[in-house]
Symmetry: D2
Amino acid sequence: MTSYATAKLQEEKVFKDPVHRYVHVRDQAIWDLIGTKEFQRLRRIRQLGTTYLVFHGAEHSRFNHSLGVYEIVRRIIDDVFAGRSEWDEQERLLVLCSALLHDLGHGPFSHAFENVFATDHEEYTRAILLGNTEVNTVLQRVAPDFPEKVAQVIEKTYANKQVVSLISSQIDADRMDYLQRDAYYTGVSYGHFDMERILRVMRPRANQVVIKESGMHAVEDYIMSRYQMYLQIYFHPVSRSAEVILNNILKRVKALSEEDYWFKHAPIHFKPFFRNQITLDDYLALDESVMLTYIQFWMQEEDVILRDLSSRFINRKLFGYINMNPQKEPQRFERLQQLFNQMGLDATYYVVHDSTSDLPYDLYQPGAAMEKLPIMLQMSNGEVRELSQESSLVDAIAGRLKTDHKVYFPEEVLTDSEVDKGVREELIGLIHHCS
Amino acid sequence: MTSYATAKLQEEKVFKDPVHRYVHVRDQAIWDLIGTKEFQRLRRIRQLGTTYLVFHGAEHSRFNHSLGVYEIVRRIIDDVFAGRSEWDEQERLLVLCSALLHDLGHGPFSHAFENVFATDHEEYTRAILLGNTEVNTVLQRVAPDFPEKVAQVIEKTYANKQVVSLISSQIDADRMDYLQRDAYYTGVSYGHFDMERILRVMRPRANQVVIKESGMHAVEDYIMSRYQMYLQIYFHPVSRSAEVILNNILKRVKALSEEDYWFKHAPIHFKPFFRNQITLDDYLALDESVMLTYIQFWMQEEDVILRDLSSRFINRKLFGYINMNPQKEPQRFERLQQLFNQMGLDATYYVVHDSTSDLPYDLYQPGAAMEKLPIMLQMSNGEVRELSQESSLVDAIAGRLKTDHKVYFPEEVLTDSEVDKGVREELIGLIHHCS
Amino acid sequence: MTSYATAKLQEEKVFKDPVHRYVHVRDQAIWDLIGTKEFQRLRRIRQLGTTYLVFHGAEHSRFNHSLGVYEIVRRIIDDVFAGRSEWDEQERLLVLCSALLHDLGHGPFSHAFENVFATDHEEYTRAILLGNTEVNTVLQRVAPDFPEKVAQVIEKTYANKQVVSLISSQIDADRMDYLQRDAYYTGVSYGHFDMERILRVMRPRANQVVIKESGMHAVEDYIMSRYQMYLQIYFHPVSRSAEVILNNILKRVKALSEEDYWFKHAPIHFKPFFRNQITLDDYLALDESVMLTYIQFWMQEEDVILRDLSSRFINRKLFGYINMNPQKEPQRFERLQQLFNQMGLDATYYVVHDSTSDLPYDLYQPGAAMEKLPIMLQMSNGEVRELSQESSLVDAIAGRLKTDHKVYFPEEVLTDSEVDKGVREELIGLIHHCS
Amino acid sequence: MTSYATAKLQEEKVFKDPVHRYVHVRDQAIWDLIGTKEFQRLRRIRQLGTTYLVFHGAEHSRFNHSLGVYEIVRRIIDDVFAGRSEWDEQERLLVLCSALLHDLGHGPFSHAFENVFATDHEEYTRAILLGNTEVNTVLQRVAPDFPEKVAQVIEKTYANKQVVSLISSQIDADRMDYLQRDAYYTGVSYGHFDMERILRVMRPRANQVVIKESGMHAVEDYIMSRYQMYLQIYFHPVSRSAEVILNNILKRVKALSEEDYWFKHAPIHFKPFFRNQITLDDYLALDESVMLTYIQFWMQEEDVILRDLSSRFINRKLFGYINMNPQKEPQRFERLQQLFNQMGLDATYYVVHDSTSDLPYDLYQPGAAMEKLPIMLQMSNGEVRELSQESSLVDAIAGRLKTDHKVYFPEEVLTDSEVDKGVREELIGLIHHCS
């Protein structure tokens, strides 16, 4: 480690934050990382993707969230862990940097984008950390192997699981920040839990972080908040409609490029992705403002499907939906597709199955989600036990969530007098059938 | 008026809003207006322009704010004015639509943009209301002269000042929403006042809206919140730095276009503005995502000034500043300009005077700002008096704010070893001189 | 009904309330009821009894809570039910008065008091409503049978269960107020749920109140809040310690009076209770200030037990506790009693079993608690279903709570060097044994 | 100092507090002080005296507030001052104890009580600190001269004004706590300011505490909150009505005792005060529950005045009021007194002048209130300046508050048909005359 690893700012810097009141920065390296262009880029990527089309307050960026995760970790380390024998102060800067940078590789509307172009934001996080970037330059100043270490913590392969679990576990700083932050910006009353209490009862143990038994009820409350946030916000059916449309826009753009379609406005930012020859600079150049600019260009394309879907997304004319699992009702789903095709609406793009298990979120499912470190309670006698063994509440809900299946389609056809009446009536029958 | 003017939705629609908890929509016309593409476009324009570069939470859009203004007016009318003899229920839809649409003509980063291209968002509001737009179609359905009426209310020329003052006065729904909303999103503790109390004591009178005397202290608190928000947020010197840079980017782009500079990436969205031949569609096509996309293109231009300023804006390498009023210290300012020119940094773009009186905000200055309707108190004996005559607190602060003058410049030259030492020392002397 | 039943105040009266912001009173009868001395008496009785000895913020009175319950019911009726066909506006004043007066018969520290003196606050509520009181005078002015009707609503025997369920059901205004109010005053972060949402989805149906299916998650959140509040606040073991001591003070006073003990300061307020010849005036004269005054007198009595327990209560020297169910461990419990008796501490008063099933609270247990009307959801097809059939979350926790058994005793004997060492060691062994 | 002075608890103790979230106790001495009976007694004295009769939420005790003041001081010292060269860590426990105990000598409804019986809570604070009390025992364990030092800090005579000013200055922990706490419990929206910001910019200097210039706006906001809280809460005219009645109850009791009136229920707790031979135990025995118990006894006395006033206080039948300054309108006031005397209502008790300058509160008046240390700003160049010289806002309001004069009387006589019509009409004329 160089002296840079411990260099402090002459005066602490403070960011006003609505969730944590203030974000405090004392370390030179953290300050420098925040100033890098790769980190500033996160200002141009919304934390909740398309959710702002349902909850208009949800316009906050990943920059916002990343500072929050950093601040939570900072408080755990500086206010709770510092001075405890099972905590190694040498890991401090590593975990702070990992917290700050954990979302660095995210692109615009990641979920839909990664789905269509098979990119992976986690790989790009590593690429930014280790590549020719301002972030890498800062991390190198700490120590030559420091960028690699940060990458390992974020990828959960770092040997010391105590460090990993502060960033990625069932009760990590990432979740604690986003639940509160997303609740704050959307304005919902779920998402609140007593984080201060939880922080105060966290304890470092060899290779893990545990929660003192006395904090169990606060943790239960956190689990419940999470449950409600998923159901109310993250799985919101209208937000999924916007996601479905965005997904199909990208799918269409890709399909067109494969057919050598001539775009009025050349999608130069997308070409590397069409060809799957992507440089880091290509990746970083594609933020949400660029994406939204292209979608507006596409509203003027010749291709009817691309034009329509783009216009729907920009002007928020979303699809309606019904509860339907195509696997359970294959004939009904197929008939629906046929009818749309018959109306001249390509069912590939206009009759879309979506299920919540496609979504990149996890509820508390100890065991099932093995990659996520479970929540461990430290009993008053020193013993350590997994939460759901102690909490009948958590045990009751763990793994209870059923996958929700919906089929999305443009519902205005049902009342469109230009559509053949027989088709419309059959459609209406199909749609209302037992939903 | 058509029956559309009074048509109600079958079921009330509700938007979750973090500031007002819920925004309630019952009128078909309001619902239809929200769904228009011109109104949806406000999602792509931030309420506070460049402020998010200082207060990272301030990422909320004008869409957000517009719904809030509508909701405040709806509460005043439906919960307080309804049924009172001095309130004409016929004006209800007019004032609701005006509230919702009052910011419709805003473009991206309006202040800088209007400054350079001499556009006026108020003119565009009128153009959108009366032009060939979805908004106009909806308003026409209410009554043929309805779009014109809405325009008049927003322009403050509508005859009934009672209606106007709900949208534009020293204590209108616009201010009450933005103070609270901007405070909420930035997370500052200023900006809070007891709006519910104020709403409850508002009373319609012939041609005006008054506040019952019993609410005076709540109004004082509102005035103080405003004072603090202006000083702390709206006039924040670092936010003004971002504004200065953005202003210069646009100035530079315009200058280059006048010189027939060849842009690597043709600024097609800007051409109408260069030529000052702007259609409504041109105007509406230019939102914040498009603007940010261009600025990123400009980071790769040949022109050193444009490239540098664009990169500064995107990567947040802002200018520093000193307190200086060039009119009072013309020689010091000129010498500063000379030194920057000497260093090869064109002073037109790199030594910039900015004063808060250039900013589009007003403090409470009864009398001075004649275009703004003052706050009138209704005393218990029925008499009506201007607030500052009754409140010694408001009297004390009214008009107290001095214009703040600053000069912005890239402060890293002061420590740049490549800069001539003599120049640097003179610069440092000039800058520290009595500031 | 008289015209008084519909008489309105000239100007609405407003109470500032920290939980509901404002409590609004428009009806003359409500205003008059609030002004009665029987209602004002509720200012002198704390809502949470002894809880303030653990959560110092919990000093709020039943007056406070009663206004809150009234306000919630008023909002349901005036903002949601008014105008709906299944709601009978004739019931309006009845349900408002019942809400306001539902706790009228409570005495100081009711739980302990009723336990020792076998009084019943519900009987006294009836007695105040129908007796020679200011409250009765007001209610009589509405209609001669009105006091009886209010009594029936509060006792849940009123025929129209729609009215009853607003005051007493699994999701009544009483619970909704106290959960939020107790959370607010104690400062805990549990107890928050989206009441505004719940109110908006409540619907009157024949003989019941239902919740629209779309509000199910808000109701789940309310159920969870309740669960947490019970575990964290209402069942708090230290608060139960204060309750145990208070109970024993009263038990001792009663025992002494039965032995014709001569009190230094004659407990005149208690005599009617000793003899069980209690007039309504006797009952109303005994508020918390009087009770606390007596306990302070008793700190100076000759009787060692009464003196000690009183001093413990006033000066907050509470008992410690261990987890123990005497029924399951009769020998251990008996031995504990013997040892305390041996030390000269009468085990009747100094070794006390307490279980949470003794507490006057209920969790959500559909079926089990038949007297409480369950929560019914109205599905989108109009069908009505009991909540736990629809909510896997509620089903999971319904009836899960186990009774908690504790034994309380003065723990300082364990470290008191004046106590025989052998006894102390045996005690310590008994206490640490498998707890 | 003994080792007790630095003894820490094995595990930090935490109180849940709604204003500061948690109050943290680490020092053995602080923990022991909280456990003393003299400190526990503060639970039985409300912070805002009679204010709960207007703002029903204001039922919080001085215990509550005292913990809050302690916590604020603890944060200043431990989070901001610790480690700075101008702060002497040796003063830490002294200032913590002084903060905790600063209100120790308060009795029930101090203002009225001290007015009638000429006691002084500050003298009693000293008496408790130095007398034969549990508090003194704890303080003695720290050092023999420690009780005297604590007394000096609270009395502002301690040599080191840095220590004094944390407890008593224009921006001390006392004010910062009560403004926020009283706002929280009453539920008003005034009283909020950014305390966290203020704490962060406080700096120890030789013999004083200063505020960094960058925190000036937060301090302005604090001053404004104070201004509003005084006008809205502390000077509330209805609350003053309850105070006036309580004052007259005590005045009457004293007058009766001087006439050797035979009380049905001997006022034994008051006898020492009648004779002005008060022991510390006498003083400590008189808390609010005792006072309220006596007032209830007095509702049954023969003396009509005492009986009536007591009943008014307990049942909240308060006096009405008009704006009147008897010194400016001596004839009007005298005639009012005559008319009440004529009606058989002794004007001494039924026509009462009250002015806000009688109230024990101070606004920000630099200079005027010399005993209060002013607020000093530390400019960026190190210079220290008084706040009102820098803040035009504070300068504008400093000392602006005018004394408010009111005359209180039972207003129901105006509509009492048993009162002679001529008298009533003259009364009404007198009262409405130019008020």
